[in-house]
């Protein structure tokens, strides 16, 4: 039933016609979050060849009040985005959810051109750990007084144990993504790091070390979506939104699935159905996915269903996810190499995928890619994520 409903409702095609992103930086003390958003918006509108005050009909933003330090933060977005006196709303989730909302606004015929915004001013947050502490259940978990990274520590130990994988595989993910980031001028944390040997990095929550965690960064991204007619009028290389999906597992620590990223399995199934991909493993040539923690890249890869029954760490050993591998994964450097940008993380994955599909990903371009996947996760302690499939055909 779900399949036929999804297909029947795809009344028209939607494309990404413009992307704008700032460089990601560990701190940006000279510019405010509004100025970061303004820079990304100007770039996106210029890329799309649009006048935001005239041509963009609706705006969807992403933010979480505790990450902004301002409650009812959605009131603070219209001016720097060109959205004053226009329909604008905020979704308290990763930017990929806002992209899904914008997609649906166009799909229904309500609007033809919609902009999506997400940003991170992580360097303004003095005690980010406390935001994650405040995300723990206040009755059953927060009174334990634990650092919220214990959730990732528990999951990582369970995942590695069940897969027969080791922390050496997690180090290989970090080494790959930081090396990839060296070729990405937007990335903050490119570098050559040793994949072998014991990590000397401080343990956060064993076996999770600081090394396994994508370091945060500041930045902003804006993506412009348009209906089929508008897109073909605007540019000759639109990137089509072929399908998307989002899902949440049981949210409590006690009843969720601790082994598999069920939210990604469900979201990607929905996305493959709406994209009518019969053989996603064959059709998808590139993946930009969530690597908030090193092990998460492996866990998310398995849940995406792109590697059959194989274990991600085994293929990783064989180099399958390198830029010249069978399935390049995070050729941009991912969040580990580019910097983790909070609710903007998923939209960074989308921007990177768009650049790849337009052949504009400069030194980290994968040759000849036509269809790719981007995936996000909302971070601890959530079991929520989204998936989008993009294609240049």
């Amino acid at each position: 039933m779900q399949g036929s409903k999804t297909e029947a409702s795809l009344l028209r095609s939607v494309a990404i016609v413009g992307v704008g992103i700032t460089e990601l930086k560990s701190s940006t003390p000279q510019v405010s979050y509004k100025e970061l958003i303004f820079e990304a918006a100007q770039k996106a509108y210029e890329d799309a060849g649009l006048n935001p005050r005239k041509d963009i009909e609706s705006f969807v933003c992403s933010s979480e009040d505790f990450l902004e330090g301002t409650s009812i933060f959605d009131e603070y977005v219209p001016d720097q985005l060109g959205a004053v006196l226009k329909p604008v709303c905020t979704i308290s989730a990763d930017g990929m959810y806002s992209l899904a909302a914008a997609y649906m606004q166009i799909l229904t015929g309500l609007f033809d051109v919609v902009a999506v915004e997400a940003h991170s001013k992580a360097s303004d947050i003095v005690n980010l750990s406390t935001v994650y502490d405040m995300a723990l259940d206040p009755v059953y978990t927060r009174p334990l007084g634990l650092n919220a990274s214990f959730v990732a520590g528990l999951e990582m130990s369970k995942f590695l144990h069940s897969r027969g994988a080791g922390t050496n595989h997690c180090r290989m993910v970090v080494a790959k993504n930081r090396k990839n980031a060296l070729s990405n001028s937007l990335a903050m944390y490119g570098g050559i790091v040793e994949a072998k040997g014991e990590s000397q990095n401080p343990v956060l929550s064993y076996p999770l070390t600081e090394y396994d965690v994508a370091p945060v960064a500041d930045g902003a991204a804006v993506v412009v979506l348009a209906s089929e007619d508008a897109a073909e009028h605007l540019r000759d290389d639109p990137v089509w939104v072929k399908g998307l999906g989002w899902a949440s597992d049981s949210p409590t620590l006690e009843t969720r699935d601790w082994l598999d990223a069920t939210y990604v399995r469900l979201a990607s199934k929905q996305a493959y159905q709406s994209a009518k991909l019969r053989n996603p493993a064959k059709d998808i040539q590139i993946a930009e996915i969530d690597d908030t923690y090193s092990y998460k890249e492996l866990q998310h890869l398995e849940a995406l269903g792109l590697i059959g029954d194989a274990k991600a760490h085994t293929l990783l050993e064989q180099g399958a996810f390198e830029r010249d591998g069978v399935l390049p994964v995070n050729p941009s450097g991912g969040s580990i190499g580019m910097g983790h940008t909070l609710e903007m993380s998923g939209l960074v994955r989308v921007v990177e995928l768009v650049l790849q599909l337009r052949g504009e990903a400069d030194r980290h371009q994968i040759k000849g890619v036509e269809t790719g996947i981007a995936q996000c996760w909302r971070g601890i302690p959530t079991t929520s994520g989204a998936v989008v499939i993009l294609s240049n055909r």
Partner: protein, 146 residues
Amino acid sequence: MTTEPIRVEGDFPVYFRYTVGVAGEKFFREIMENGRLMASRCSSCNLNYLPPRIYCERCMSRLEEYVPVENEGTVEAFTITHQDAEGNPLQEPVGVALVRFPGAYGGLVHRTIDVLAIGDRVRAVFKDKKERTGSILDIKFFEKIS
């Protein structure tokens, strides 16, 4: 005059009093009075939710039946955490386990006093009755059953 970028200090001081609800009352009062774990039962799904809740997330039935759960279980996942909630290093790292209990769907996450492995058997150790306040901290920790 300093040329450092100007930044304005601020904070977010909001205080809460979290309601534990119908199922939470049942859970915490049972611990306070009888030192016993209590789950809520969905008979249509044959699931006993621990911690209890008044709804079944599978079939959305309202749950009114409660069943006791023994306080000995099995380690599903284990970690040793090295920072406190605010991110400061801990003098003594803390063991944390997710524990499953026979016949219960869900489990409990709590501190441990032992270094544990997945599959280890543990028991919930409660505070003395007069010290219990209706909090998850009425359980002191999990200890290994040797």
